[in-house]
Symmetry: C2
Subunit: 191 residues, 2 copies
DNA sequence: GTCTATAATAGGATAGAC
DNA sequence: GTCTATCCTATTATAGAC
């Protein structure tokens, strides 16, 4: 069953492209860095992504969307206690951003000169993200409107905390931002 | 007195370089875009900035530091009522970020592959920024420690609000972030 | 599916005329 | 102080062998 192997290998390649885009942004990422990161020659990359860099960015965002759907949104939706759902989501974000040391792919590509398909994916990932956090906030007792504001402000603070870390090396604001979700559970009404 | 004219003209050029770096980031900004934005040929730009793009970024950050020092920090330090200082600073940030429609130069360059001198300037601008906001927060009645946290979290939220706008076009989170400073004045003890 | 070789273009930078 | 012309390198992309 070579098809399964191919899919696994492709996911591995995309994971390495993800790191390059995340660390260098769209314009800063070059075919040479992709080649080095994946161990593949430029021509091999074009074999997998005929439309080049743009298609690579779309593939990486597709994988990011799958993460947001399958890990974050589905956990927020799960029939588990609020505290357990929040704890799982906090751990997932902490791992994704390597304790605040890593950039956010979504935040970087959102500000870069990506194509329309990639931009649509950015919007879809953002919607999944905001809806998941708003659901947690709503379950903690907030009104729908307050929960939506909370989700937007929490997203912003997390994005900004990563920028702050890039500027001064301090990961504590990132940790405080994650902790805002934990605090959410403490305000929750009994379920 | 041609020297004064030169300084004025140079400030105009730097202002246009600022817009290019802000909108495209460090790697996304090219000599061609600088040339178009300033109306100068590449060689003329090298006349003003012999070390090229790197020196241009440093000049732009120097101007940003002057803004943070002369507008934000000096207003926070002024012997005016807290509400008046906050109002002036909010208006300055609202104008700088064009109501939330523009990117932040500091936030973008902090995540890009800039040189050590530019990176040092990023750190200095950030310190001025955080100290100014912490001073406002402290004057509103917070402890020094709380005020410092407030400044970091406010910076993060503002940076993230600009990313959010880039992703979905909504400037309301930016407006809410500015409003956090206005709310600060309402908590203030009588002066 | 991967490679070497190569093209075509854009980007950064310099020389020298005016 | 600005321009044209030029150079070198990096970057994107393709052709064709294996």
């Amino acid at each position: 069953m070579p098809a399964a192997l191919d899919a696994k290998e492709k996911a591995r390649i995309i994971e390495q492209l993800f790191v390059v885009f995340r660390d260098h942004g769209y314009e800063g990422a070059s075919l040479a860095t992709f080649s080095q990161a994946t161990g593949l020659g430029k021509s091999s990359l074009y074999h997998h992504f005929p439309r080049g860099k743009e298609q690579m960015a779309e593939a990486v965002l597709e994988q990011g969307k799958a993460f947001m759907q399958n890990v974050i949104a589905s956990t927020a939706d799960a029939p588990d206690p609020l505290e357990a759902r929040i704890s799982k989501i906090v751990r997932a974000f902490d791992k994704l951003y390597e304790g605040g040391q890593a950039y956010c792919l979504l935040g970087r590509l959102a500000c870069d000169g990506i194509g329309p398909d990639a931009r649509r994916l950015v919007g879809e990932i953002l919607t999944l993200w905001l809806n998941a956090i708003a659901e947690l906030a709503h379950d903690s007792g907030m009104s729908e409107a307050d929960a939506h504001h909370f989700a937007e402000d929490w997203f912003a603070r997390l994005q900004g905390a990563l920028i702050l870390r890039a500027a001064n090396g301090d990961t504590k604001p990132f940790k405080r931002t994650l902790n805002m979700l934990v605090e959410l559970a403490k305000d929750a009404p009994p379920q």
